[in-house]
Amino acid sequence: MELFETSVILGVTIGLVYALAGAGLVVIYRTSGYASFTQGDIAAVSLYVGLFAYQSGLPYPVMALLVVAVGALLGGLIGGLIVVPLERYGPLTAALATIGVGLAIQGTENIVLNPDPVAFPSAGDGPALTLGPVTLSVADLVQAAVCIALFVVLGLVFRFSRTGIAMRAANDNPVAAGHVGLSGRRLKVVSWVIAGGLAGITGLFVAPLYSLSPSSVNAILVFGFATVVLGGFESITGALVAGVLIGVASNLVAAYLDPQLVTFGVYALVLCVLLFRPFGLLGRRPLVRV
């Protein structure tokens, strides 16, 4: 029972990070209709900048804000200058461009930086809260609190704010969005800024676990994609539910079966859900009047 409780509690904690990784993908998909494969690389650049600042004496909280700001800026630049302009050649071209940008970033990092993994600081290793058999660290607690707060904010922004509704409208019908006077390009760049910031935050939680290298943060992208496929590409709530589900399921598989079966287990779970819910757990079939 103790093993079960531990697996579930730690699964929820890491699942929230998976969910956040998925949320970044959802934000771009909702405005542009394609997935970004460069989230992990945006996070890596932001984290390297943050690490240099931290090693130069910047306190952790300020460094964390810097990482988020760099992620948002980089996301805006990549989206605004490269990917969104390429959308005129179709969503597939834009999606492929995100792969190209990611590879270019990794290549540059490998040339400019030492590509060996380096340790990345966390919000704190000291014990903060005991839940049954598990003692959560300050970093675990901060991670959970920030993820939950961000999901609440994202949900409210997309549901109720005028910009959030406009972003959904631009995805729903880009031609109509242009006719009513929405600037689809501006909204898409905003979504890239938000997604870039989310990549930075996700990286802050992932890097202490996986260490930091040009490709290490991309590990989270695998779980991020599993999250949005499972939860539904357009659903922020779906990303939250699916992320937690995957986090808990992964830990249970590792604890009761074999840690090497985790990746297989995640994809088996995704496949099973998609067989019955092809648009994901909370995704909706597009409503089209015929």
């Binding site: 005028r162 509704i165 406009a166 409208a169 729903d172 019908n173 109509a176 009513v180 597009p286 409503l287």
Partner: protein
């Protein structure tokens, strides 16, 4: 006051679809009637800023808006009800109105009044727009333009795909909008009844040119409109 002088345009710079279009409108409605391919949709989208004018001028209250984009045109007071309605299907009825007001830089305070003016939209404000009937979607597309508080509304084939009963209701609605709000309306249509029920002047378009101006208070001109409409 909307003044259009010698307007020409097309879908591409070197492919002219219409030319030498001139008219002035200060309240009331003017209609354009012509067959498919006459250039009505292209003209509507050029007036709304979705397409760039190839020449001529569009002025609104004395301000030249010819070079503006859709966004600039909406903010200066010209809104489009596009062909096929093009509502945001996955958004609710109310969200469709909110987003239109936002795009025009207006507050959402006018939505309540519009829901009173179009009660069916108020009743279905929480439903996805895609779930509305064709006639209801057309009302939503019109309301979406009106919430932008325009001086001029350009409607592209608003009767397309609607039943005769729905067209009658639409005509009455548009007439009340023109009378009550005092705004100007430009209609691209193939439905002569809708045009004669709304417009004082109808311009007959053939191959991108206005070939005749019809006065809807003149019986002979009205007959010409119906002949054109029926293709006789």
């Amino acid at each position: 006051m909307l003044e259009v002088t010698g307007l020409r345009g097309g879908y591409r710079e070197n492919v002219l679809v219409f030319e030498d279009i001139s008219f002035a409108l200060d309240g009331g409605a003017v209609g354009f009637i012509g067959r498919n391919g006459a250039g009505k949709t292209c003209l509507a989208q050029t007036l709304s800023g979705a397409l760039r004018a190839g020449g001529g001028a569009i002025t609104l209250d004395g301000v030249d808006v010819t070079a503006g984009s859709s966004r600039g045109r909406v903010r200066s007071g010209i809104s489009l009800v596009p062909e096929g309605r093009l509502v945001f299907g996955q958004l609710t009825v109310r969200e469709n109105l909110v987003v239109a007001a936002h795009a025009a830089g207006r507050s959402s305070s006018g939505i309540g009044a519009l829901e009173e003016q179009f009660p069916i939209l108020g009743q279905k404000r929480g439903r996805p727009a895609a779930s509305l009937s064709g006639g209801e979607q057309q009302l939503l597309a019109i309301a979406r333009a009106l919430v932008q508080e325009p001086k001029v509304v350009v409607l592209d084939e608003p009767s397309l795909g609607l039943s005769p009963v729905a067209v009658d209701a639409l005509t009455a609605t548009l007439r009340s909008v023109v009378v009550d709000s005092g705004l100007s309306m430009v209609l691209m249509e193939q439905n002569g009844e809708l045009l004669s029920g709304l417009c004082d002047q109808v311009l007959l378009v053939e191959q991108g040119r206005v070939v005749r101006s019809l006065d809807m208070h003149d019986e002979a001109d009205e007959n010409t409109l119906y002949e054109s409409y029926l293709g006789v």
